[in-house]
């Protein structure tokens, strides 16, 4: 019975074997050829479904067409962009890890959240710029223009509430910069932190806040539905696609700021690789690469992104200038005031620790008042063998985390699973068969079919 079961498990493996072997040789051969010869990883520092993610995925599809290798997007999210940018900057400079850099790259290091700055990247191409814009509810007609709001704020500072992103995010900075340019204190409009522009716009429409500062495309659907009204855009000239929205400059305020997105490689990447990618990207942004008969500019326009591209050297200069501008803003005493709200970061955890203490106290009281009844159902005796198995499982996971990057996925996974099978009492040849079936299957499934970037190691797999 046992034998038959194992055999039926193993049989699919033999039909796979030639395929798997062919695959392994292919991967091995390709490793030495010209760039690009294997899948490229595109790191997106923001979550699935957002604007940066959408842009990354579109760029990836066009790059795939142009470079003829798979380009896989990975969302390395969290830490307001720290995670993605720092992983992209510290990747191997072999051209196989691209990063979709965003405006936060020029802000995070000024706020001392990371050491990574634009200097850790080789800029390849700027793809998009979205200037900040200010919105209010459409149905109320509260203010005619920016100056009317400024007058309102001057009379009653601190009564209006605005939103758009987290405290200290780019849109918060844009609003505070406008207030400063208008001669007001940066904190004279309350900032309600939200998790991105979507929830902020929802707050605006439902009456939770009075103003929202975000980019025009982010408010596109609500603009089309006539729910929100744009008061101005913080750009030097009007934005294509939104000809009716006046700039701040037209209304007498000299203030322009916005978000941008562009591709970068780790700093030490060889010029040859940078040039190859820049060449491919140039074809894409100028609409020469066609997909299904449509070019990249067409997609950008339909998604409401503003396509603004700058080649490597120009991009580098803009980065340097923007970094200085944001730096002088972020380090100025007025702004450091803004970043500290009325509630401290540790307030919520303190509340939780309080609740934890109360709960533990109550549990203790109950434990002593009821005696053993709680601990009574604890499981029976521990065997030495069980404890060893327990440690082996822990070690196996640790071994993967420590060794996979060097040895590659296939070797690490195969040795871990083989040793575990053997240690848990499977016969050696059964363990070998299971290993030889499961590891290539997982590799094919995740690595090839689902395009998860599994660790490649020294051998390339």
């Amino acid at each position: 019975m046992e034998f038959a079961r194992i055999k039926s498990l193993a049989s699919p493996f033999f039909s796979w074997l030639p395929f798997v072997l062919a695959l392994l040789t292919l991967v091995g051969c390709q490793a030495k050829e010209t760039y690009p010869s294997r899948p490229i990883l595109l790191i997106c520092p923001w979550a699935v479904g957002g604007g940066t993610d959408r842009l990354s995925r579109e760029v990836a599809v066009f790059l795939e067409q142009e470079l003829a290798v798979p380009v896989n997007v990975v969302n390395a999210t969290g830490g307001a962009g720290v995670t993605g940018h720092s992983r992209g900057a510290s990747a191997r400079p072999d051209g196989y890890t691209l990063t979709m850099m965003t405006v936060e790259l020029n802000m995070l290091h000024w706020r001392e959240l990371t050491e990574i700055s634009w200097k850790d990247f080789t800029p390849v191409m700027l793809i998009n710029r979205d200037p900040a814009a200010l919105f209010t509810r459409a149905d109320e007609n509260r203010w005619e223009d920016l100056n009317a709001i400024a007058d309102d704020v001057r009379k009653n500072p601190g009564t209006l509430a605005a939103s758009g992103t987290a405290t200290g995010g780019i849109w918060h900075l844009a609003l505070a910069g406008w207030l400063q340019a208008a001669g007001l204190k940066p904190d004279s409009i309350k900032w309600i932190p939200t998790n991105g522009a979507g929830p902020a716009l929802q707050e605006l429409v439902s009456g939770g806040v009075d103003l929202v500062c975000c980019s025009l495309p982010e408010a596109r659907t609500l603009l089309a539905a006539g729910k929100v009204q744009p008061l101005g855009v913080m750009a030097e000239s009007r934005v294509s696609g939104y000809p009716d929205v006046p700039t701040f400059q037209e209304q007498g305020i000299n203030w322009a700021v916005g978000g941008w997105r562009g591709l970068g490689l780790p700093q030490e990447t060889s010029q040859e690789i940078v040039n190859r990618l820049a060449e491919a990207l140039l074809k894409i942004v100028t609409g020469q690469t066609l997909l299904n008969g449509k070019g990249f500019p067409w997609f950008m326009e339909n998604e409401g992104f503003n396509l603004t591209w700058e080649p490597s050297d120009k991009f580098r200069r803009s980065l340097e200038r923007a970094d200085q501008e944001l730096g002088s803003l972020l380090t100025s005493p007025e702004f450091s005031q803004v970043n500290v709200g009325r509630f401290q970061p540790m307030d919520f955890p303190k509340l939780l620790f309080g609740a934890l203490a109360i709960t533990l106290l109550a549990l203790l009281v109950r434990f002593f008042s009821r005696g053993k009844s709680i601990a009574a159902s604890a499981p029976t005796r521990l065997s030495g063998e069980g404890l060893i198995h327990f440690l082996e499982i822990v070690l196996a996971v640790a071994a993967f985390a420590l060794l996979a990057e060097k040895l590659g996925f296939v070797l690490t996974a195969a040795s871990i699973i083989f040793l575990l099978l053997w240690r848990l009492g499977t016969r050696i040849w059964v363990a070998a068969v299971v290993t030889l079936f499961v590891v290539p299957a997982v590799y094919g499934l995740f690595g090839n079919l689902l395009r998860v970037p599994l660790p490649r190691g020294i051998l390339g797999w």
Binding site: I192, T221, R366, V397, A398, A413, R451
Partner: protein, 539 residues
Amino acid sequence: MDFLETSCGCHYREEYWDGELSEILLTALEQIFQWPVLGIIVISAAYGLFMGAIPGLTATMAVALLVPLTFFLDDVAALAAIVTLEACAIFAGDIPTALVRIPGTPSSAAYVDDAYALTRAGRQEEVLGIALLFSVAGGLFGAAVLITSAPWLAKIAFQFTSYEYFWLTLLGLSCAAVVSRGSLLKGALALIIGLLLSTVGLSEVHSSPRFTFAQDELIAGINFIPAMIGLFGVSEVLRNVLWFQNNFRTVVQEGFNQTLTAGRSLLNRLLFQPLRSVFATASDLLWRRKLHVLRSSIVGSFVGMLPGAGADIGAWISFALSKRFSKNPEEYGQGSLEGIGDATSANNSALAGAWIPALVFGIPGDSITAIVIGILLMKNIIPGPQIFTNETQSVLVYGIYITFILANLVLLPLGFLAIRGGSYLVRIPQPILLPVILLFSIVGAFAINGSYFDVWVMLGMGILGFVLEMNQVPLGPVVLGIILGGKLEQTFIQSLTKSDELWDFFARPVAGFLGATCVLVWCSPLLISLWRRRWQTSP
């Protein structure tokens, strides 16, 4: 076909249509009932089932991976693929939940203990049959809600400000703690641990690092997917190797042998017998609990409609309600078929609910519809009220309605096959199964972000889950705390920043209602025990 026409909203709001209705419906049907589109629906159903069944790969990720393909599909086919994919993925999440105690998607976490307890008793086919039938029922109801009430229901959800979201999030969390197995105090403890874990990393409100110990990786915080895999999957592997339970296999094996030897003819053995073992209890229960399914689906649709609250919270709240009004609340957490049924119909009905604000206002109800909005914009369709009045675009809306119904019908046979396939999993001897589960857990945790740190998180959470389980502390609330902690803090601080008055938390009518419900949920165990005592002393 008759069925489709009657349920596709012939009673639809007339001011929009003026007699063109049948024409639009017919065009939509024509566009869907073509071989290529139907083929795409079946393929995406299979893909969804597969992605949902692998822990670590969520329905959202499955849809995101589909985005490049939608460039090449026409509008109706692209949307049909996504609708089918998500409906199947959310059901498929129940398969590993029941079989190996790892929720395939976060939406299945509410009833993981129940489902697994029944599997250990050899009743996994019953559980999955119920999951399948109730999912289909919930999904169909959700589609009906989407069809009939999309425009006016979304208006209610649109009134929500941070106060309402605060209470709603707290309600979701409270439900998880109150319904969980074991005592209220331990549920609360689990919840607080989860919430504290969520505060690790860069706070969303202040963007300042907390509990990061100067580690760059910790700035990103604890990702809930590896945490979930660790808490449920790895802790289970650890427990199993510590006390090798050979009886587990034999119990399941006996159940199987019974089903295998029962039939006489081949057809009987291969088709009727499995059909009976999967659907007999399920269809019976579905008929007996039709009103409960209705209630759960209403809850699911409504929660799904609220931006930011998706299928997972819908499942928790429905599970909590189910326990509160159940005649056998003591079964919940130990293997309650009723609880599984109610929660699983809620998470499937939430899916269609999430499309309502997405279509009507362009504000996504969950992360999947966020991607959908991106795809719609790319195809030059701007979601908004006008989508219901413009003739070519309303064909698309009808296409979405029809596929929601079709997807749930396709799910029935394909889901059955998936259950049969999945059931073979538990026939594999444990010494072989455990290392394979561990490998899948590691790859699943690694896959989500391609990060080794996530593998460490998974291991840490596995050990934490093991320790908590040993002390009968439920794990579900820990996971929900990690997922919702950031949102709770954010809405809390937002509401406090807006105004100094504590009363404002209750001042808006919906907020007041939700707040009161929340307080009631926490007091209910106390009230019920008081009421019982009184009732018993003076009969």
